[in-house]
Every structure is written in C-alpha cells, then in structure tokens.
C-alpha cells in the first residue's frame, strides 16, 4: 500500500510541478486576467533591456500615473530610464513580490517609486492585508519557499489556509483560468504568444485617458459635487461622488501597520544595494480636499528618516488636483499623466543626482 500511496504522491507532485511550478502554465494564462496582466507586466519588465544602472521603476496601483515614454524620450538629456509595473487594484504586498520577480538580485534599479494615496494612511473599510486577490495577482510568482512567510501575512486562518493551499496546489488558483483555457485552447495559446511578443510596445505607448472633468465643482463641506460637466452621465456622477466621499471607519492603525510591514520588507530587500526608495503622494481628487492634521505615525513618515528612503513633498502634486486633469474621481487623465510624469521625474532626477556613467 505504501508503494501505491508513494506513487500517487510522486506522480501528482511531478505533474503539479511540471505544469504549474515550472512556469509552463504561466506562459498561457489569459493575458487579460488579473494574474495574466500581472505576469505580462513582469515578463515585459524582465525582458526590457537595461543598459545601465540608471533605471527608475514605478510600482503601484492605477493612480500611479507615470508614463515612462514621456520621460524616456528626453533621455539623452536626463540620463535616467523610467519604467513601470504598476497595476490597478494592487497594494504593497503585491508590489514587494513583483519587485522581487523583476529584480531577483536587487541590483537593477537606481530608484523605486511607490505611490501613496495619502501620507496619513487612514484605515478604509477594506482591510488590505486580508485581500485574497493578492494571491491571484501573484500566483505565478509565488514559490514553495514562500510558504514560510506569504500565508502568514494574512490574519485570518481561512485566508492563511487558502494562501497555503494556493501556493502548493497552484491549480486551485488557476482553476477558472484553466477551464476557460479548455474551451479555446489554441486561441488562448495564440493570444498569450501575441501578448508576449507585442504587449510591451502597447503598454509603453499608452497615453492615458483623454476625458476630462473640466467644470466639476466639489463642495467639500457638504460632501457633494455642486456642479458636474454636462457630458458626465448621471450614473457616473453618482460613482464619482461615492468615490470622493467614501466614508472612513474609526482609525485603528491597521492600514499603517500593513503598509509599514510591506515597506520595511521592500527596504530590507534593497538594503545595501544603493537603490533609493521614493514615496510620493498621488493627486488626491479633481479639486484639492481640505487639509487634515498630519498623522506623524504613518508608515511613510516613520520611514522618512531611514537611509535610501526619499519621501517627496506631499504637496508636490497638488497643482494637478484640478478637474481638467482628471477623467474620474481618482485618476488623472492624459494631460494629468504627462504633467505627473514631468514633475515626478524631475524630482527623482534631482534627488538621485547625475546619472552614473
């Protein structure tokens, strides 16, 4: 009986390893899925030629508005090459593992740019540390050795178990993707191949959303929009108001603790490498919200004095908080992204000094 059980375990582990842990399946993930988009971004960044050490990489979510092309076209004058692996819906845990994937020896980059929605890091209704979706973003990049730490970064036993199971049995996370693959296997393989070859160019050429909220007036006291541009439909108006005034739970320091943990992991990862870690506050809203007293204990402020940490002035991007530079409540538009890139790149260059020869 032992031989039979052993044979079962060995063959199963072999198949699991061959398909999922070898990276074979990662080559045919649906590129437009959460996991697939993350993988495409990481693969593109890994393949991007890095001719010198003067590389600046932006991580972050959808509000990280850096357009590398805008800055790189000036490169002969600046000496720095910008790139981004920002991905909508991600949080610091995802950024850490993405950085580890694109920079396995922690020596590729002169600087890493990390966005913050607000340097006060107040709690939101969602506990980001419990996001199961992080497992889906990262599944193709998590290794068996991550069993030591990744699952334990969740608080609940259920999430920990899901993460543990997902890392060992990756098929449980890929299940939906695999079933869709079975429906159109050849088309999927062709699509994945197409993205592998061409997507770097598309994403690099992305210019941002051209829409604008010009004319929007926000009444911060009454927590509403007093005037909307004519072109914004009613449903969109409601969404904008909901996003501008989400309401916050009593602050327990949960968000700060989460960010502090993962920022420290990123700092530790780059410790001694000479890579500078920049924090920047993204433009918060189409008009500047009223100032609130600063939280001196936020993660960013706690880390501000550490070597290789550069916290950009939190008001640096306030000039972009204008309705004509936003296309919805949270995201700057094409023009906003261009200005964002120019302002941030200039600050980064200034802080880094002249590029290394």
């Amino acid at each position: 009986m032992t031989a039979r059980l052993l044979a079962t375990v060995v063959i199963f582990a072999g198949l699991e390893g061959l398909i999922f842990h070898s990276g074979l399946y990662a080559r045919i993930i649906e590129p437009d899925s959460t996991t697939g988009f993350m993988e495409v971004q990481i693969q593109n960044e890994i393949r991007r030629p890095k001719l010198d050490h003067n590389q600046v990489l932006a991580v972050g979510h959808s509000r990280q508005a850096l357009l590398p092309r805008i800055e790189n076209e000036k490169k002969p004058g600046t000496g720095y090459t910008f790139a981004t692996i920002g991905l909508g819906g991600t949080t610091p845990r995802t950024w850490y593992y993405a950085l580890r994937a694109v920079d396995p020896h922690a020596h590729n980059y002169a600087a890493i740019l990390i966005p913050e929605d607000d340097y006060n890091e107040a709690d939101t209704w969602e506990d980001e540390s419990e996001r199961e979706s992080d497992l889906h973003y990262l599944i193709s990049r998590l290794r068996l050795r991550d069993l030591r730490d990744y699952p334990w970064t969740y608080k609940s036993a259920t999430r920990r178990w899901t993460a543990l199971e997902g890392i060992v049995l990756k098929g449980t996370v890929y299940r939906q993707d695999f079933q869709e693959f079975l429906d159109h296997p050849l088309a999927r393989i062709a699509k994945a191949e197409y993205y592998r070859h061409d997507s770097a160019g598309w994403y690099y050429g992305f210019g941002g959303d051209a829409r604008s909220l010009a004319g929007l007036e926000i009444d911060w006291t009454r927590r509403t929009a007093s005037h909307f541009p004519v072109a914004v439909p009613e449903a969109e108006q409601k969404r904008i108001i909901a996003e501008l005034f989400p309401g916050f739970p009593p602050d327990s320091g949960r968000e700060v603790a989460y960010r502090l943990y993962w920022y420290r992991k990123i700092l530790d990862y780059y410790h001694g490498s000479g890579t500078k870690i920049f924090f920047l506050r993204v433009p918060r809203a189409p008009t500047s919200p009223p100032e609130v007293p600063p939280n001196p204990n936020s993660a960013v402020r706690q880390l501000a004095g550490q070597p290789d940490v550069i916290v950009l002035d939190e008001h640096l991007l306030d000039p972009l908080e204008r309705p004509e530079l936003f296309w919805d409540a949270l995201h700057v538009n094409r023009e906003g992204m261009i200005r964002f890139t120019e302002i941030v790149a200039a600050e980064v260059r200034k802080a880094l000094g002249p590029p290394r020869p």
Partner: protein, 465 residues
Amino acid sequence: MLFQTQQFFLFLGVVLILFYSTPLGWRKYVLLAASYYFYMSWIPVFILLLLALTAIDYTAARWIERAESPKHRKTALVISLSANLGLLGFFKYYNFFAENIANLLHRPSNSFAMSIILPLGISFHTFQSMSYVIDVYRKEQEPIRNPIDYALFISFFPQLVAGPIVRAREFFKDLYAWRKPSTAEASQGILLLLLGLAKKTIMADQFAQIANAYFQDAGKHPGMLSAWSGTIAFGIQIYFDFSGYTDMAIGMAKLLGFHFPVNFRRPYLASSITDFWHRWHMSLSRWLRDYLYIPLGGNRGGTLKTYRNLMLTMLLGGLWHGANWNFIVWGGYHGALLSIERMFRRGKPEDDRWTLLYPVQAAATFALAMIGWVFFRAATFHDSLYVLGQMFAGASGEPLAIPKWMAPLALITLVLAVLEEKKGWFERIAIGPAWAYGAVCALLLLSVELIGFGGPAVPFVYFQF
C-alpha cells in the same frame, strides 16, 4: 460537513488515525463517537431523534425475540414501524398532506403548515432500522445484544446521510468478524474515494450549473434543444452526484474494514427500464423489493396483481424521495414503464446485452430515464408539463450555453463506463502495478484540482431526502 470538503477529509483522516491506533475492542466506540459528531455537525439537537429511534428499534427487536406469543411479537413490530414511519411521516410528509388537505377544503394552502426542518438522512436510517426489526421479526436476523453495536449500525457516518441502505446481517458480519482491509481493499477504498470526489466536483457540480440555469426558470429558455440539454444536464448531475457520494461512502467503509453493497452499476448503459432499476440505487430497489413488493405479493398473484404491486412499489418509492406530487408521478411513470416492459417481455428471457440492437435500446432507455428526471427536478407539476411540452412540441430553439470542454468530458466518461462494463478497468487498476495505480489516482486528483467546481461546496442532491 459535506464529503467533498477539506473539513470532511480532515475529519476522515483523524477518524482513520484514531481507529487504527485504538485497541480492537475500542474501535467501535471511536466509530460511534465519530458518527455522532458527524451527524451533530449539522443540527446537533436532531441527535436526540436518532438516539430515540435507535433505542426504540433496539428494544423492539429484543422484545420480539423474548415475546412468548405471536401477538406480542407483532405488537413490538408495529410499535417500531409506527415510530419510524410516524417520525418520517411527520418530518417529511406533514406539510405535504397539510397542504393537500387545505386545498381540498378550499383554504389557503399554508393553513395547516408548520415550520419543519427535515432531519438529515432520516429516510435512509429509518429504512435501515425498519429492515433490521422486520428481519428480526421474520427470524432472518438475530437481535443485537449490545446497544452500542446497534447504534453504530444506524449511525455509521459513511452511509448515514444517503446510504447505501445496508442490511443488518451484512453490517454485523463485518463488525463481528472485523479484519484489517487487504492491500487490494485499501487500494480500492482510496480509489473509490477519489473517483467519487471527481464524480461529484467535476461532473455533478459542473453540470448542475447548467441544469439549475434551466430549471430555475425554464420559461427563459424556450425550445426543444434547451429543454433536452437542461434535462440531460440534470440526468448527468444526479447520477454523478449520487453515485459519487456512494463511491465515497463505499470507499471510506472499505478503509475502515466494512463492505457496503454496490449501489450503482452504470445505469445509463441499461438496455431497458427494468435493467435500469437493476443498476440505479440498487440498495433502495432491493429494500423495496424485499419489504414492499414481495410482501404485497410480488409476481405471485397473477398478471394484474403483479402490475398493481409494481405500480404501488414504484409510487411509494417515488414518494420516499420527497413529499411532492412530482416524485409520486415520477414513481408512477417508472412503475408504468416497468409494467409495460413486463407485459411485452412476459415469458421471454432477458436479452443478451451486447447485441446489434443494444445501442438503440440503451439510447431509448436513456431518453426514457431523462423524461422521468423532468418530474424529479422541476419545482412543480406545472413546470414539469411545461418542460415536457418543450421537449416534444417546442420549437427547436437554442441549446443551453455549455462550456465546450464539458461535452468531451461527458464522452470520456461514457467510454470509461463502457470499458468498465466490458473490461472492469477499475478492479484491474486497484490490483495493478503501483505506478499505474498512482498515475490514475494522481490524474483524478489533478482533475479535481483543475476542473472541479470552484464555487462553494454544493450539497449532495440526495441529502434532501
């Protein structure tokens, strides 16, 4: 605690470890404690009902043995049957009868209704319990002396919720002459567990999505093609659901050194409805035959009485499934088909299965079984008639959207079923070389991981009975 959940596998692992690390004499206590824990993981208070029925039937059987006169023996039997049927009737059928009486009296249908939760597995354990007491009454079974042994017979967790319905003599033979499972038995047990898990999560739960989409609002999917595809999806769901459960139950029992009767033998390969009932839910068919059909007279009282007995047995078999006119109609439909077949086959021997005509016969039987499933699945009789109307008189319409990979999967299972029927691949693999056994088990595990249903665990269909 559903069989296909990690929670259950953890439970099973703990039970197996405790069972085999305990001295032989104590093992039944481990199994009884595990069985009660399993039962109480749903609604703990219903354990009182299980204990009460256990006590009544245990005592009744002992009373029957000791009774000096036939009258007293009969009284004990009647008390036991009344308790079982009374509780089953109350929990399962009260609202059905209350609603029909209210309708007859032209009162609102919920006039006499009560809020009743059906205790888990009541239809199965009462039938098992009744068969024991009847066997004792018939002197075909010695009464069990040790109440713990009897309690374990009634509550044994692998088959407590949905069978197979085990006869007392089979169970106690294993309990009293327990021997460690051989390598072949343990191999079969594990393979059955995995096969059952695959049947449930890959086939049943995936096809359930299609069947549910259709039957929840059949009016949204008019046409013959969608009616047939929704019904066939349910036919696939219910077979793989119930036989998957049974495979797991039999597999677990094997691992614990017990041997349950086979409950399904590839029913969709049947060449007639009679053959279908020799292959579908065999432990219930056997129960109905031994405790209903034969006591009614079976086929001994002439042609008409035989048909009457067949119809009564199948109508009650239908009603056993649920308190709903649809189940009665379903039973009646099968009773009528069995009678018709008997009428045409009278005096003729059973056909050899593998003839040129077999594929046609099997396809026709499959279609007839599917028609019956309409009554089984539709929420109301009216809905059943609508679906049947669409199946036979609807416009062609569009088939339901079924993921492309599911059709080849159904075909593969058909090929495997035919191979099992002719070559017995399952038994061969269970005793075959370790690498072949390991490969099949590994493929089953990988299939469950990748193409099993990914949503929340879906309860087994027969858990509602």
